[in-house]
């Protein structure tokens, strides 16, 4: 096999089928560059250098074919140097064009930038002004909100105090506690500068307090009336005790004043002493104009029942008349003759009968 290969090479050399020797590295470098994509532009821009390079390349090829390697290398180098000079010049031209385009682009951008900056400055001025206005409006709104919340808190506090004044803690504890809790929440929100929340909670507190007041008011009014009535009872009691004769007691019907021996035997006209006592009773009645007076006349058991009943009614009417004469309106007065039906002592003794002969004046309670 090996001898066969050598024989083939020898045969080829003998027949002259080897052709021209391969081009040197310098020549190939030139050929590659000269036939590259960029070559057309280079040759168009530097025709003389391209022409010189091509001429040197031709000389190199010829010398190479003639077997003069040194001369071939010399011309190939010249060809490459002429060509590369043209290439560099062309690239420099490209770079200069590029720089010019960039400069133009820069100039355009700069011009637009100048306009955009001016617009931005103008807008910034406007926006800054409006921001400031919005900020101030926000502050005003916040202040108003704060003031509004404060006013609601004050109103809720007043409402709760009013409810407490109506004794809501006793009459409407749930509503009052709800109001107090809402007020506490409102105060906490206010402290946290949540004025909107504070306002809402304060409204709830006011609402709760209003409910408490609505529930407590009638109950409190009733309590008050009772208290006033009690106070009046005390005052009437004290005044009644100043009357020298008779006894005073507090009964379920009111303040009861018992006046004994106001009439002579079988008489229906009060004695002089009794007249004075009636005047004192009238004075008390004038001090307490809301009180009605019930006048009840009683007899002992001497005589008949029927006669005693008539006698007692006449005596009760006489006292009523006497009070009327002392400027007590008849509308406030009721006269009842009880006869001998309600003795308070033993009719068999003289002292007992004296006790039974009596007139009772009751200062009745209005509200009860």
């Amino acid at each position: 096999m090996r001898s066969a290969g050598i024989s083939l090479v020898v045969l080829c050399v003998a027949m002259g089928c080897g052709g021209p020797p391969p081009h040197t590295a310098e020549m190939v470098t030139f050929e590659d560059s000269r036939n590259g994509n960029y070559a057309y532009a280079v040759a168009a821009r530097s025709p003389q250098l391209a022409k010189d390079a091509d001429a040197e390349y031709e000389k190199s090829v010829k010398a190479h074919e003639d077997g003069d390697a040194d001369l071939a290398l010399h011309h190939a180098r010249l060809a490459n140097m002429f060509w590369m000079t043209a290439v560099y010049q062309s690239q420099a031209t490209d770079a200069e064009n590029d720089a010019n385009n960039s400069a133009k682009s820069y100039a355009d951008s700069s011009k637009q930038l100048e306009a955009a900056n001016a617009q931005r400055d103008m807008l910034t001025t406007s926006v800054t002004r409006l921001r400031r206005i919005a900020e101030l409006e926000g502050k005003v709104a916040a202040t108003e909100s704060q003031a509004g919340a404060k006013a609601k808190l004050d109103a809720a506090l007043v409402a709760i105090k009013e409810a407490e004044g109506l004794d809501a803690e006793r009459h409407a504890p749930d509503a009052l506690n709800r109001a107090k809790k809402a007020l506490a929440d409102a105060n906490a929100a206010f402290a946290a500068k949540d004025f909107s929340g504070a306002g809402r909670f304060a409204d709830l507190a006011t609402e709760g307090a209003a409910q408490a007041k609505a529930t407590a008011a009638p109950l409190h009014a009733a309590d008050e009336a009772k208290r006033v009535s009690r106070d009046e009872d005390d005052a009437i009691f004290a005044e009644a005790r100043k009357i020298s004769v008779g006894s005073v007691s507090v009964t379920p019907r009111g303040i009861t004043l018992v006046l004994p021996d106001m009439f002579e035997k079988r008489e229906t006209k009060p004695t002089v002493q009794a007249q004075a006592e009636i005047t004192q009773v009238a004075a008390i009645a004038k001090k307490f104009p809301k009180r009605s007076l019930i006048i009840e006349a009683h007899t002992d058991s001497t005589g008949g029942k029927s006669a005693n009943l008539s006698l007692s009614q006449a005596r009760a009417d006489a006292v009523l008349t006497a009070l009327t004469e002392n400027q007590i309106p008849p509308s406030r007065l009721t006269a009842i003759g009880k006869g001998q039906s309600e003795p308070i002592a033993d009719n068999r003794t003289k002292a007992g009968r004296a006790q039974n002969r009596r007139v009772t004046v009751i200062f009745s309670r209005v509200t009860e």
């Binding site: 960039s102 637009q112 807008l123 406007s126």
Partner: protein, 146 residues
């Protein structure tokens, strides 16, 4: 006699003049080539000093070698080789100058491109700012109208 003397004298004079002319011509040619080599040397030094980025290092090495060869060829009167070497050095110097000029141009182009890109970026940002401000202005104006 006078004529013959004059002819001989004239011939000798002419020969002497010719010899003088030839000698002077040769010396003149050598001087010019040396000046060329010197000028090349100056050019190469100039290229080397201005090539801060060392893009011509290979070419400079070759050109310096050729300068040495040229000097030797000049000394040894190897005129034909000298002529080729001088031609290569001239072509090499022109090529290196073109290469350096290209480098300068590319640098300038790069700088200009960067400057343009920076300006474009700044413009883009300014436009975005303007758009944002216009939007905010519209919102704030609406609020103010209310």
């Amino acid at each position: 006699m006078k004529t013959r003397f004059s002819f001989v004298t004239r011939a000798v004079g002419l020969c002497a003049a010719a010899l003088l002319w030839i000698g002077a011509g040769t010396a003149l040619a050598e001087d010019t080539t040396q000046e060329t080599i010197n000028a090349f040397t100056v050019d190469i030094q100039s290229i080397e000093s201005s090539d801060a980025e060392k893009v011509t290092t290979t070419e400079l090495g070759l050109a310096k070698a050729w300068l040495g060869e040229a000097q030797a060829q000049l000394t040894q009167d190897r005129e034909e080789e000298l002529a080729r070497t001088v031609k290569r050095i001239r072509a090499s110097i022109a090529m290196m100058k073109a290469k350096l000029a290209k480098g300068v141009a590319v640098h300038k182009a790069d700088a200009a491109r960067k400057k343009a890109a920076d300006a474009a970026t700044a413009l883009k940002k300014a436009k975005a700012d303007v758009a944002s401000l216009e939007k905010e202005l519209a919102t704030l104006s609406k609020k103010e109208e209310k």
